[in-house]
Amino acid sequence: MTLWASLLVMSLVMTVLSGFLAVVLRDLLAAALALGAQGLFLSLAFYLLQAPDVAIAQAGIGAALTTAIFLLAIRKTRRKEEE
């Protein structure tokens, strides 16, 4: 397997793993950060698939802005999820 293919598979696996973590984590701050990591790995996958335009948009919107909005929302409400 070439370096490109292994990097792509790794970024996609990390995307799925961070998305899973964002769902199962009980600490909402950690879940928001996992969602940001998911956007970052997805942006890396877009870059490896030769779509740098989409990768920049995904890194700006998906990784940075949504994480910031979630962090602001958590700051205004509470951090732990209730059963």
Partner: protein, 149 residues
């Protein structure tokens, strides 16, 4: 936020803002453009809003609104500039003035001073996106009054 977050935000804010400006400025040569650069610059603004208290930016809502309207109006005016031929005709390309250099033939690293009205439209869209997303994050940060931390 903690002093670590505040220090990193203080260092990273001008870098992210400059990278957004770079993406907008080279929109007609490299990947990216007005929307992507504006989103990167708005993420720099969101970083500052998360790290510091947003209360100091309370009166700046009108500034964001004016900047967004200015970007939209500039885009439409640049479109009307080519009305002698068609709407959105690129009258500045190859004219020798602002962004008017002819595009060199063959493989080259890219000439910044080309493409006519396209870089100006990229700047208009970039300012519109920066002001729009910045206003969204700012209003969200200001909503509800006092923070509990």
């Amino acid at each position: 936020m903690t002093v670590v977050v505040r220090t990193v935000a203080r260092v990273l804010f001008p870098v992210a803002l400059a990278f957004g400006g770079y993406v907008i400025m080279h929109g007609h040569l490299t990947p990216g453009g007005g929307f992507q650069g504006g989103a990167v610059a708005a993420s720099a603004l969101a970083l500052v809003l998360v790290a510091f208290s947003p209360a100091r930016l309370k009166g700046k809502k009108g500034l964001f609104s004016a900047l967004e309207s200015l970007g939209g109006v500039a885009f439409v005016v640049l479109g009307f500039l080519g009305l002698g031929l068609t709407f959105f005709a690129n009258v500045l390309a190859g004219a020798g003035g602002l962004f008017g250099q002819p595009v060199p033939a063959g493989p080259n690293p890219g000439e910044l001073n080309t493409a006519g009205t396209l870089p100006l439209m990229n700047w208009a869209v970039g300012f519109k996106v920066l002001a729009g997303l910045g206003a969204v994050v700012l209003l969200f940060a200001l909503f509800g009054g006092e923070d509990d931390r």
